[in-house]
């Protein structure tokens, strides 16, 4: 779960990470009132979960009330790389003496948190990593030991921050590590981390990704979910406990197990088709779950044909067949279905489907054959 900048800053503030004071706004009037309270100059910032907001015109400095109105008007409702801006964050403009970059990430290869610090802040850090890798100081922290003061000093010296801020920058890294651990984040990133002319170190941005699996321990964070950022079809799938990702094509896909579903998408694409979704019905799905999944797939009007690719382990193919038959009773789909059932109770499942004799449902015995068939049917309709 990715937090919006202002949500990340509120989390930061709870852990003593210094951030500019600001206010949240959802209308032009709210933004102007917030700006008046905060004082000028102030910054009006689009709150969307995507990078490159500044370049897209989603971050603007207002010198007075009129400009605050003008910028809020321009930014609210703006489209930034496919996301519509519904919320703003208004904060006091900061004077900047130096711009740094700091992050704590979950390093899967090292199986340890990785803390990074660079004096090349304010730019795309992936570009810095490619063009000038030595400009980023990196340090793995033993998660059983935690972040020690010497870690902070070492990173600060290695990154060559201004000598007078070695200690405050180290202290800032320690607090960011605290956010990472206490909030059970998988990413905490600040770009830029600034030093102002008074030599205070502040987080001017906040990018925080929380571990969804740990939200049960963090009820406050669980409430930060932003349903407006989710696709309605994805939300519907989530409410039904299905693992679903919407894609651009016209072939609905249902399978069991993430790896098999990913592989099914690939095989369909290789056969010349274009998947409309990833849907993992999960292990041990009962008939009702399958019926419910069919409903989610068909709620996308682009879907011209649907492929079921099941290799039953815990999942029983007869349950899948019952679910599909029930879906036909309830929803009466008009698009063709291709069904491949293998594994646990596959014979029973195929018999059930044969007896039901559903309109426009095609049984296939292999994954490759099923993929070719569904591509053909989608193209024909």
């Amino acid at each position: 779960m990715d937090l919006l900048e202002y949500q990340g800053k509120q989390v930061f503030a709870r852990h003593g990470v210094s951030v500019p004071s600001g206010r949240h706004a959802q209308t032009v009037d709210e933004a102007a009132a917030a700006a008046d309270d905060i004082g000028y100059p102030c910054v009006i910032k689009a709150q969307v979960q995507i990078g490159g907001r500044g370049k897209a015109g989603g971050i603007k400095v207002a010198q007075d009330h009129a400009e605050a109105l003008e910028h809020a008007q321009a930014i609210l409702g703006m489209d930034i790389r496919g996301l519509t801006v519904h919320e703003l964050w208004v904060e006091g403009a900061s004077d900047i003496a130096s711009e740094y970059y700091a992050s704590v990430v979950f390093d899967r290869s090292a199986k340890a948190p990785l803390v990074m610090l660079s004096t090349k802040g304010g730019m795309d850090i992936e570009e810095v990593a490619d063009s000038d890798p030595d400009a980023i100081a990196r340090l793995h922290v033993d998660p059983l030991l935690g972040f020690q003061e010497f870690h902070g000093r070492r990173l600060a010296f290695e990154a060559k921050v201004d000598p007078d801020v070695v200690r405050p920058v180290g202290a800032m890294l320690s607090k960011l590590y605290d956010v990472f651990v206490s909030e059970e984040a998988t990413l905490v990133e600040v770009n830029p981390l600034i030093v102002n002319p008074e030599r205070d170190v502040k987080a001017l941005d906040a990018k925080v990704t929380l571990d969804d699996n740990a939200l049960f321990r963090h009820p406050d964070n669980a409430e930060l979910r932003d349903p407006s950022a989710e696709d309605p079809q994805e939300r519907m799938a989530k409410e039904r406990g299905l693992t679903f990702v919407k894609l651009d094509g016209n072939i609905g896909i249902l399978g069991n197990g993430a790896g098999l579903v990913m592989s099914t998408l690939d095989v369909v694409a290789q056969a010349g088709g274009s998947p409309a979704n990833f849907l993992d019905a999960g292990g041990g799905s009962k008939a009702e779950a399958i019926t419910s999944a069919v409903e989610v797939i068909l709620s996308n009007a682009n879907v011209k044909a649907v492929l079921f690719n099941i290799f039953g382990g815990i999942t029983r193919c007869d349950e899948v067949a019952r679910g599909l038959i029930e879906a036909f009773n309830q929803i009466k789909p008009t698009v063709p279905f291709v069904v491949r059932l293998d594994g646990t109770n596959d014979v029973e499942g195929r018999e059930l489907l044969a007896e039901a004799n559903l309109p426009n449902v095609h049984a296939e015995s292999t994954m490759d054959g099923a993929a070719h068939k569904v591509v053909e049917l989608a193209a024909a309709s």
Binding site: F106, R108, S109, K111, A112, P113, E126, D142, P143, L144, V181, E184, T186, D211, N213, A214, F216, R217, T243, V245, L247, G255, N256, G257, A258, G259, L260, V261, M262, S263, L265, D266, V267, V268, A269, Q270, P275, F278, D280, G283, G284, F311, G312, G313, I314, D342, G343, T344, T366, M367, D368
Partner: protein, 293 residues
């Protein structure tokens, strides 16, 4: 031979009294696995179809001599159960549970690494099957027979699909190991491929990867330098869009890293054959092994 689980496996199951835990423990026992005990705090002294239940892993190990643990408890209790099994001195822990918080996994992994006496497989994995010897986990054993192909995979059902097409070509398996789809697997491809390299029964290794992380890339380097047996790979997720988690917590393409294309290319550069479909993997494996035994 085989790797990790065999006739000497003495299994104790954490969560044996739960619905899924009971079902799969009994299935594993029916297959011939020695299921010597279960752990459910507060239910010590009871039994599940004759399998004794203990309050703690320490009791279970002391009284049964268990050397292998299977973790079947819900996510919020799973890391604790893994750490308890490790503390009780179990040599091999197989964690089936899906959805364990990442920081819990990180802690468990690092404790196990530091103490250096236990191997962890999973979490979020289907388990390990050595056909004809032992099945620990949820792999549907009926589809697999004894043979010379070792399989290591991040995905369960994809393993069944590939195992099935390999079986249709006439080959069986030494051992099938599901390492799981989480960001911090207890064992990765390299750990398991090294075991297959040393296993006399295994003549060919199939590795089944997917998008996210760099475990496949690191395995490619390891194979080039250390593995004499042929390795055939499959990578799922060529059509996965960046930034979307494809079902497994570990299956996400971030930026330009972790794509299926990059992984396939890294493997091919190191001389590993990569099948573009599960069927092609089986065909390549069959052609490398020659006529089926």
């Amino acid at each position: 031979m085989s790797i990790l689980v065999d006739n000497n496996t003495k299994l104790v199951v954490s969560g044996i009294t739960g619905r899924e835990g009971t079902f799969h423990s009994l299935r594993n026992r029916d297959y011939g696995t020695q299921v010597v005990g279960g752990v459910t705090p507060g239910k010590g002294g009871q039994d599940v179809e004759g399998i004794p239940v203990f309050n703690t892993f320490h009791d279970a190990v002391a009284q049964t001599g268990a050397n292998t643990a299977m973790i079947f408890v819900p996510p919020r209790f799973a890391a604790d159960s893994i750490l308890e099994a490790e503390d009780a001195g179990v040599e091999l822990i197989i964690a089936i549970t899906e959805g364990i918080p990442a920081h819990d996994e990180l802690r468990a992994f690092n404790v196990i690494k530091k103490n250096g006496r236990t191997r962890l497989i999973g979490p979020n994995c289907p388990g390990i099957l050595s056909p004809g010897k032992a099945n620990v986990g949820i792999i549907p054993a009926a589809f697999f027979k004894e043979g010379n192909v070792g399989v290591v995979s991040r995905s369960g059902t994809l393993t069944y699909q590939i195992g099935n097409v390999i079986a249709q070509q006439g080959f069986g398996n030494s051992t099938i190991v599901g390492i799981g789809g989480d960001p911090v697997p207890g064992s990765d491809f390299i750990d398991i491929i090294a075991l297959f390299e040393d296993d006399p029964e295994t003549e060919l290794i199939v590795m089944c990867g997917e998008i996210g992380g760099d475990a496949e890339e690191r395995a490619a380097d390891f194979i080039a330098e250390n593995v004499t047996k042929p390795v055939v790979a499959y990578i799922a997720g060529f059509t996965a869009p960046p930034g979307k988690t494809m079902g497994h917590a570990g299956a996400i393409v971030s930026g330009s890293r972790g794509t299926a294309k990059a992984k396939a290319e890294a493997l091919e550069r190191r001389g590993v054959r990569v099948g573009r479909t599960p069927t092609e993997v089986a065909e390549v494996a069959a052609s490398l092994l020659g006529t089926a035994a």
